[in-house]
């Protein structure tokens, strides 16, 4: 079985986000970028499947600006076998919508014929939580979203999902799209020798046009603004004072 892992280059999760003063978006110039943390978990899971003999090949794919090849090199250093970069934007501020991403991934699936797609449940930039589900719709495949456990046996997979009330376990038919949640695994760090080796692994470069997909956004961004900030509160000196303040505020 071949496993396809889509990865996204996003702002590093430790970086403080700044909204541009003209309201056109978030400032991404000269900002540290990294692999979306959920996608790291997906890459890790794919590699573990390979190590367990349940997958033969792990292919990482990224759609976005040319610099996404750095993100793909990270996936290769973690242990992916090869990578496909699909350039779909020139400007780092251009976010390709999940629907367009899913359409491109569908085209990749038609070429690559993987048995499983493992993806992060959401990207920490646009917080859409949509690509996996949309890809499942376009392929007509089953979906196991927000996975915290994954067990593949033959032509089906048992997926434990993080849901509102706790955990839900479902059985889905393969091929499938599985979107991963935080607790599925702890991604490994790439070792220096593996980072060096990753530079020699194959990385194909294509464009969205090669797949005939129109990436024009369906959602026009009217503006991007700062959220309302909270007023700084006060530090109380004791539990008694806290209780008194809360009573005064009508909170108790």
């Amino acid at each position: 079985m071949k496993v396809l892992v889509p990865v996204k280059r996003v702002i590093d999760y430790n970086v403080k986000v700044r909204v541009k003063s003209d309201g056109s978006g978030v400032d991404l110039a000269n900002v540290k970028m990294s692999m979306n943390p959920f996608d790291e978990i997906a890459v890790e899971e794919a590699i573990r499947l390979k190590e367990a003999g349940k997958a033969e090949e792990v292919v990482a794919v990224s759609i976005g600006v040319k610099q996404s090849q750095e993100t793909l090199r990270t996936a290769l250093a973690m242990g992916a076998d090869r990578a496909i970069l699909i350039v779909a934007a020139d400007d780092v501020h251009t976010d390709i919508e999940p629907l367009a991403v899913a359409k491109i991934l569908k085209a990749v699936i038609d070429e690559e014929a993987p048995g499983l797609v493992l993806c992060g449940k959401q990207a920490i930039d646009n917080d859409m939580n949509a690509t996996g589900q949309m890809l499942a719709a376009l392929t007509g495949w089953s979906q196991g979203t927000f996975a915290s456990e994954l067990d593949i046996e033959g032509d089906s997979a048992t997926v434990t999902r993080e849901v509102d009330g706790g955990l839900q376990t479902i059985k889905i038919k393969m091929p499938a799209i599985v979107s991963v949640d935080l607790r599925l695994n702890e991604p490994r760090y790439a070792s220096l020798p593996n980072i060096m080796k990753a530079k020699k692994k194959p990385l194909d470069e294509k464009t969205a046009a090669d797949y005939g997909v129109d990436t024009a956004p369906r959602l026009e961004i009217v503006k991007t603004s700062e959220p309302e900030t909270r007023k700084a509160g006060e530090i109380v000196g004791s539990v008694d004072e806290l209780v008194a303040k809360l009573k005064e505020a009508g909170a108790l």
Binding site: L99, I124, L219, A232
Partner: protein
Amino acid sequence: MAVLLIAEVQGGELAVDATAKALTAAAQMGEVTILCASEGCAGAAEAAAKLEGVSKVLCADDAAYGHDLAEPLADLIVSLAGDYEHIVAPSTAASKNVMPRVAALLDAMVISEVTAVVDANTFERPIYAGNAIQTVKSGDAKKVATIRTSTFDAAGEGGSASVETIGAAANPGLSEWVEDKVAASDRPELTSAGVVVSGGRGVGSEEDFKLIEGLADKLGAAVGASRAAVDSGYAPNDWQVGQTGKVVAPDLYVAIGISGAIQHLAGMKDSKIIVAINKDEEAPIFQVADYGLVADLFEAVPELTGKL
């Protein structure tokens, strides 16, 4: 313009709070029909019909819809989509699972976590863990959206819409339910509770989380947790508050032993009053807290619980 609102139905019962809040948003887009799809959902449909401002309720009672499986539910919603310009749902684990699938089947871009309806085509939604608010205008013929319930007031009751039973769509048979692991609790539900008491890494162990639970029970509160606490196994996943967990906006939020990473703030910063108890006075949580207490939680929390 006609709106189809997918009700949140859990175990055959209407999740009134989530559905009524999403209804408030949906009513700003047009005339609302509610779909209740579940197994044994006649009661849920009747409850939905009593919500203020609902014109009709559709009830699809079928075993295929009993466990929030995305594939059959998406096919049902798509089969009904022709009559509606908007298809919306409260942003719950169930709808986050199914709505993007519905959108892609309709060749539309889903609009996740809507926090304000500007007009029928234009919506606000948080991005970057709530560090920016984006206003987007949909050019799609059908608008598919999930509604962040914490930012809308619940619609009232007093309606008397008609209930129409509809048949199930064909089940593609791609998935089957195995089991749910849901902890039974007498506490209020996290996303609709008036008071939430949350613990973080500072609590230190699953055992010591009892301190958090004790204070919560004294306050009649729901219990929440930071990602660090959940990852460390101190608290179950469904307690997680934050960017990738639940988003809450109670009247009172008490953060204990929580440093206040932006990913956590994303899930609670709209709370009316925030209290933080942390021994590290530099913790970022104090920058959003109305009342901060710099103290060892193992002393302060039992004292607070005792004095309430």
